[in-house]
């Protein structure tokens, strides 16, 4: 396996930054965000969990998907493919989240062209976690701190013997191979350290269990404190709901230019489903918050394959009123244990 020192890694990253867009976690007034960097010294080395996920670079918070020029003729232009970019320092959970979004945006017909362009242009260079941090629960949803799925390269920090930090490089895809070709380093036999796992986490109940407890009073109870903000969905690496709207970019005599913007949206906010005329088909907050959990643990896996949650724990840390998705998982597990007949009853009713 190839190994390289931190100095070599920085050198390699600096070279990458010269030729393409290099994105890495940086510290912005105390918040760890994935931003473009031009110098590897700007990277927040030693970061744990970032405050925002690298989702921003695959499904940007706002992006024009079409440009519409309306003059004598109407022209509709697609947004050109983005420049090649490398995201460095992707945590394994976030890479699995990208796979979850792929399942819907790439593999479910029709695939989303704009997302596909971002995906093609992007290489994900992972950095495995030495341990599960506070609120992390990737192991509950099928991941691991050193999982390789979805990554092109995975770097693992080796236990140093007091000397300079050493990284072991796992090459996982052709894309990763291409990128690693320019990487300095030394081929040597190393054993990768086992990450430290958090014990005593709950077990995720099956989709059927969730189905059986859809109408449980628990959902109203857990929602009571919900403020109906959108923080949990925006920090989530796997939430993918969006809004689309045309907006004026330029208005001149004889030519109007509009952009069709796509921006993140959140099923937890009240206006999300409100339709013209004011009717809201999902009128209660408990139905909205419940939808978020059900989407992640039941609808998404059933409709598209992967779970809609990767256990990064960001929503737990971010929620202003401490609505804890891990507590929800545990509660559903408990509901299932206390009412084992519910699954069959629901199936019979349906």
């Amino acid at each position: 396996m190839k190994t390289l020192t931190q100095a070599q890694l920085k050198e390699w990253l600096d070279a990458l930054a010269q030729e393409l867009t290099l994105i890495a976690p940086v510290n912005k007034q105390g918040k760890l965000l994935y931003r473009q960097v031009h110098d590897s010294d700007d990277i927040a080395w030693g970061f744990e969990r970032t405050d925002m996920s690298p989702k921003t670079w695959l499904l940007p918070a706002t992006e024009p998907i079409l440009t519409i020029r309306q003059g004598e003729q109407v022209q509709i232009e697609e947004t050109p493919a983005p420049q090649a970019k490398v995201v460095f320092g992707v945590r394994p959970c976030d890479a699995r989240a990208a796979l979850a979004i792929d399942a819907l945006f790439l593999h479910k017909e029709p695939s989303d062209a704009q997302y596909a362009r971002h995906r093609e242009a992007t290489t994900l260079v992972g950095l495995s976690c030495p341990q599960m941090w506070d609120s992390c629960f990737c192991t509950v949803v099928g991941g691991a701190p050193n999982a390789t799925e979805g990554l092109d390269l995975l770097l693992t920090e080796l236990q140093g013997d007091g000397k300079e930090t050493l990284y072991a490089v796992q090459t996982l895809t052709e894309k990763g191979e291409g990128l690693a070709a320019s990487m300095p380093g030394l081929e040597q036999d190393v054993s990768l350290p086992e990450p430290k796992l958090t014990e005593g986490l709950p077990t995720l109940a099956s989709g059927d269990t969730f189905r059986a407890h859809f109408d449980d009073a628990y959902w109203q109870q857990v929602t009571e404190r919900c403020l109906a903000c959108r923080a949990c969905t925006f920090v989530c690496p796997a939430c993918r709901c969006f809004d689309v709207r045309d907006e004026v970019a330029s208005r001149q005599p004889g030519l109007q230019v509009f952009q069709r913007l796509r921006a993140w949206d959140a099923c937890t906010s009240a206006p999300y489903r409100r339709i013209a005329g004011g009717h809201n088909p999902r009128p209660t907050q408990h139905a909205r918050l419940r939808n978020r959990f059900y989407c992640k643990f039941m609808y998404y896996p059933q409709d598209f394959g992967p779970l809609g949650c990767v256990g990064c724990g960001r929503c737990i840390e971010t929620c202003p009123v401490n609505i804890d998705i891990l507590e929800v998982i545990a509660a559903v597990e408990q509901l299932a244990a206390s009412e084992p007949w519910a699954c069959e009853a629901r199936a019979a009713a349906a």
């Binding site: 062209a113 704009q114 109007q256 999300y272 409100r274 339709i275 059900y294 989407c295 609808y299 349906a350």
Partner: protein
């Protein structure tokens, strides 16, 4: 690599506009690209996303059937929000964008040989018109056709100019009702459910097809049940807030079902199994 962008609309030109009812316009459009236009095939019950450039996109049920070489596509547009208002301001010759056809549509083949009961409420009549047209064009393939057409008031009834031609067909009846009649209204006054219960179409070898506001669908289903219709005989087309129409944006789900890609047409027994209520 090039990608076919499902979010990119085709350009279309408005070929005709007429008032259908109070606040509702019928738009006839033709796709600009002849190749796209000639291959643009759709079934009753499918919908398209119509763009009013600079304002946005909204889903509308297609309210016409494809008639050989006549490639006009029709929608009924009720003025309720920003997009529909912008579309109402357009005129013949103006450009719109169109994506589709989207959704599943009615399985008209399956309905062959059956008696058809159609329940349309208000603008909900729009996606049912192609069903009626299909039955009438292939009259011998289907059994009797009973149309129950309702609206809040007489000026909100859609396709009034076609009633006579529908009635003129063999084995076809049309029943009209409004919630609030005007003095000159010659037909029934009251809810569509009352009317259906009075006329009591037979459930034998019949299918019902309903479109209207969710609350009307809910009560129509109860009424049909009373008349002996099984849920498997009842077909509905649902509405939901949609943005993308292709199952990505996550806005239209009822439980694990996406109205835009799995529907909007559902057999009612399936709807009964939805986790989330459609009402």
């Amino acid at each position: 690599m090039t990608h076919i962008n499902p979010m990119k609309p085709y350009l279309a030109t408005i070929a005709g506009v007429r008032d259908l009812a109070s606040g509702i316009k019928l738009l006839q459009v033709r796709l600009d690209d002849p190749a796209v236009s000639s291959s643009f095939d759709y079934r009753p019950g499918q919908f398209v996303e119509v763009s009013a450039f600079g304002v946005g996109e909204s889903p509308f049920g297609i309210t016409s059937i494809r008639n050989g070489n006549d490639e006009l596509i029709e929608f009924a547009i009720n003025r309720v929000g920003t997009v529909t208002e912008a579309i109402h301001r357009l005129d013949v010759g103006d450009k719109i964008g169109m994506r589709g056809p989207l959704g599943n549509g009615f399985p008209m083949e399956k309905f062959k040989g059956k008696n058809i009961v159609v329940l349309g409420g208000g603008i909900g009549g729009a996606p049912l018109r192609p069903v009626i047209q299909t039955v009438l064009q292939n009259r011998s393939d289907y059994g009797t056709l009973s149309i129950f057409w309702a609206a809040r008031s007489p000026d909100l009834l859609v396709f009034t100019d076609e009633y006579d031609s529908w009635r003129a067909q063999p084995d076809t009846e049309l029943q009209l009702t409004v919630d609030q009649a005007t003095p000159d209204w010659p037909h029934k006054e009251g809810l569509i459910t009352t009317l259906v219960e009075q006329v009591a179409p037979s459930a034998d070898n019949a299918v019902s097809i309903t479109c209207g506001p969710p609350i009307m669908i809910k009560f129509a289903m109860l009424t049909l049940q009373k008349l002996g219709f099984q849920s498997e005989q009842n077909w509905v087309t649902l509405e939901a807030k949609m943005k993308c129409g292709i199952g990505k944006c996550g806005r239209c789900n009822l439980g694990e079902v996406f109205v835009c890609t799995d529907g909007p047409v559902f057999r009612f027994d399936r709807v009964e199994g939805f986790l989330e209520s459609f009402v």
